[in-house]
Symmetry: C2
Subunit: 674 residues, 2 copies
Amino acid sequence: MPLDTPKDPAIAAKAELDQQNFALANCIRALTIDAVNAANSGHPGAPMGMADAATVLFRNHLKFDAKNPDWPDRDRFVLSNGHGSMLLYSLLHLTGYEDMTLEQVKNFRQWGAITAGHPEYGHAKGVETTTGPLGQGIATAVGMALAERALAGEFGSDLVDHNTYVMLGDGCLQEGIGQEAISLAGHLGLGKLIALYDDNSITIDGPTSISFSEDVPARLAACGWHVQTCDGHDAKALDKAIAAAKAETGKPSLIAMKTIIGFGSPNRAGTYSVHGAPLGKDEAALTKEALGWTAEPFQIPDDLAAEWRAIGTRGSEAREAWEARLAASPRGEALTQRLSGNLPEGYDAAVAAACDALFADPKKAATRKASQMALEALTPAVPAMIGGSADLTGSNLTRVKAVDSQYTKDAPGRYIGYGVREFGMAAAMNGINLHGGFIAYGGTFLVFSDYARNAIRLSALMGVGTIYVMTHDSIGLGEDGPTHQPIEHLASLRAIPGLTVLRPADTVETLEAWDIAIRNRNVPSLLALSRQDVPQLRLEAGSENLTAKGAYVIRQFGESRDVTLIATGTEVAIAVQAAEALHADGMSVAVVSMPSWELFDAQPEAYRAEILGSAPRIAVEAAGKFGWTRYVASEDDVIGMTGFGASAPIDRLYSEFGITADAIAARAKKLTDR
Amino acid sequence: MPLDTPKDPAIAAKAELDQQNFALANCIRALTIDAVNAANSGHPGAPMGMADAATVLFRNHLKFDAKNPDWPDRDRFVLSNGHGSMLLYSLLHLTGYEDMTLEQVKNFRQWGAITAGHPEYGHAKGVETTTGPLGQGIATAVGMALAERALAGEFGSDLVDHNTYVMLGDGCLQEGIGQEAISLAGHLGLGKLIALYDDNSITIDGPTSISFSEDVPARLAACGWHVQTCDGHDAKALDKAIAAAKAETGKPSLIAMKTIIGFGSPNRAGTYSVHGAPLGKDEAALTKEALGWTAEPFQIPDDLAAEWRAIGTRGSEAREAWEARLAASPRGEALTQRLSGNLPEGYDAAVAAACDALFADPKKAATRKASQMALEALTPAVPAMIGGSADLTGSNLTRVKAVDSQYTKDAPGRYIGYGVREFGMAAAMNGINLHGGFIAYGGTFLVFSDYARNAIRLSALMGVGTIYVMTHDSIGLGEDGPTHQPIEHLASLRAIPGLTVLRPADTVETLEAWDIAIRNRNVPSLLALSRQDVPQLRLEAGSENLTAKGAYVIRQFGESRDVTLIATGTEVAIAVQAAEALHADGMSVAVVSMPSWELFDAQPEAYRAEILGSAPRIAVEAAGKFGWTRYVASEDDVIGMTGFGASAPIDRLYSEFGITADAIAARAKKLTDR
């Protein structure tokens, strides 16, 4: 090795435990120092502290093949403390991921580079999920591990058998979602989930002791985890601990690694000053000296580079063997189909049949019930679908015959009791979808989308087709009152870029919404569904999915248009009533059902102009008015809510809050001077 | 007693443990059964299961005086599993809270009643906080306990010495925020927080074993709690456990009570069917028979009613003694002033002086820095202010000299390291403010308002003046990338009814925003603050708080108006640049700074019309465009973001995303056909 002996005796002592691992880890540390310095921005401390453990993991354990990053049976690696992104980028570069060139590393945190400040899914290969918002990495990893077990249960462990590794820091363990994930993983006995905890005693504000003093190993043991502690700079101890974690297959494993943040930095190691700021030129030089690192910036000595590249190809044999097994297996073709993400043959027919059935025998039903009917009709044709609820199964109506098998510690199933853990559920669903082989959907009340919100955002940011089933979507929830009645939620969700919000009006639109959601594998969908019954408004048979247009004229009264009523969900029926009354009074009225703003806005301008028309417009939605001025002239033209709801029976609420056909008609007359 | 012996031998055995407590508890069970049946809606199971424990608590321990519900030194009681609201309403009615009449109990869940489906703060006296969204009750209670210790530290335990009791269920323990609260309470050693866990093994979907199998006592012990377990129907055991919890003053206490949900119901006790549905007439009759309850619906036998009313006055002596101590204490007047919620003398002068200083010596500064300057200036005049951050102190700049004392296990202080626990922080701040004596503010990044969102909503729903300091409020955050750059957040927060969102443009507006927030004790405020520097735009001295008008003309170029540029926060300076360029090209331009939509919309119509003007309008904000059509004709007239951000240095981001003076000027010219 062209490396000096570390100048610092404490570092030298650690190095001696495994010289080669130490030297390989220094490659990560050096790249981190250089990239963060070049960007003059970033978080060097965590990568420097976790480098030894990451080296052990990639060198001895992680099953991967850098030249085939999408190999389905690879182990998953999630860096939950995503601010340590240079750890991951260094590993990808060193092991030979083709897109992770030295140029990309040098352009860390620059416009257009795949080396964003936090790992972004879809930018670089080997980034299994976007991380940075703390706690979500571990929760997403729980979903991956959950999916692995379900897929293995279905296709056999000869074809599906990989671990999910997560590195996480104090922040992930402080965030509530971290606990939700930990609790769920322990409950489900996800034995192939292995978490390495970077226990460095430092947080952004200073020592963790400012805010964090619990016994983490004891907490996780209480949650059913297999727990070990070890020195995070002792390669041999780490290797043993990871091996033991792999051997424990009935419980998820935590390895609490005592580490020194910014390991190697003479003046900053072990302090919060190395957490989120570059070392700077001088300290970088001192650090490299202390580590015995003599190479130029961004240069990796040839022998170490070669060894890292060998690590990157270590899994190629396993991959080839897997491919051979896949080719030879009677289940191979089916698995390949599943992993392709394409919908199976028979799906289109199932949609058509379900649609025909509704036209043949129209149903009055709550849209949450319509959702269950759609699921009953479609899930038999889509074995990839895996459902669940955050402890509101009977309310969300997410459980149907084809997904009736409960996922338990003893065996995987197609229905997951996520518990009262909305955020954990949402992130886990992202993980299931990212893993491949499944389409995850899960339910809660729309108001509790708040709890899950940042995971919904990450679905959209990543482009992952998670399906959120959000019932009890308005004051129509009734007696549970304002804490449970969504008001601002539709607007808040519509404001998220890249999320398709669907609020269907009846059984037909609900079926169509499900069809859209199931097909949308790269866009998350959120279905806002009612507690209360609505009539089936769509009665004319037709094969076109009108919901996919976002909005369409569902009723036309009279020849021309004096006014256009735009409504969504349960309020479409009320708008139709109002239109009937107005028409009886001699007005021509078009009622536009607008189940999805996003889908409507994506239509050609001519279509949008035709639907919106040039007559005065009124919007009707039992929710806050915020945002509706996109389609109407003023919020005065929105029949909706101006404040929070109240606890009372539904009819009283609609009447007291003035969301009635009378109120719509009165506004229409005022607007048209009648 | 006019009660029969319970028909059910298992019930009779429990009853024999303490006949009187059992009989008193049956009053709660009977009222619950009757009210839920009358509403034909509600959750009878939890109140029936917790009735024995609640009776022990109110009868023997809780320090309160029903006729003086606002007595500041009362113990606080929080029902974190708020769906069990009939437990609380029964207790309030039975102990003689004047507003909780039998009529109100009979009108449970009806329009206009104070007996909402979930306990709503401000509806009924004795409801210390709104609960229902699970996990938030315990987190809010942590804030109350934290405030109690801080206030006692300041004014002495002769004047401030009360416990905070929380009842909570499995849901509160599954929600991540529950763990955040538990971890924080353990860390801070909140010894006067006592939680009673309704361990009934039942959740909405069925047995908790579907989704929850951890060792809760072990988890809480790992988090530094004092933990006991006991039979939740054994009054004597409960009494001992509560006494022991009170005796332990260095740690928060958990009493895990093994209970039977729907206790007394022959066919539904111990099952999920009693969780959220009325018993119905037949099962109600069977249950009353099983319990030995012979009174008519809604009737309480006289002797039991009298005993309950005596319980309600049990604390009156303690209250009188406290009032005497307060009157006699040299700190009494100061405490009374603090508890009044009025700002101290000297506050107005501090604001004026800070303002004068800015006009005398204008500063270019990030608005987060301006926020720190405002805090430095104002907090010495407001000893009620208690600050903190979710582990981003150095970024949020929430710590200043006057609040520099760290709140630790050993001693309360004015600065709280909430840890990486945004949701827990927000709920705790609500609790601090609800407790009285303090104005709580706390910081995180604006993007992580997502994590705290439902607690922000509860601040607004309750009308509690929590102050959210949300920095790094746009793509101006730069290199950390899209996970850390808020896009939809301003819109999402503006959509919440009753929340004042403030995005100040410079040092002066930031000071004004703080003044508004500090004065707003019944409305939550959220300050969106920049990472990057902005020039001071307000240079003309004047005593009027222009930010309080929500929007105003900050610059006028030319005599008339060809176009109006409306901007917020850091984009006001860019709009001014654009206006200068347009003016140089011969146009008349007004630049409107709009720090708060809510405050602007509350202005008289004439003022709004004057500010908005009749010329074409362009809005400028480095955020999603959603909602801006309230003020401009179309989202095409918004210079803002259409998707997520990116990781790069700030200047590059503003330029790539087209949020520039050039882009504004180009749009203005297009809009005015130049």
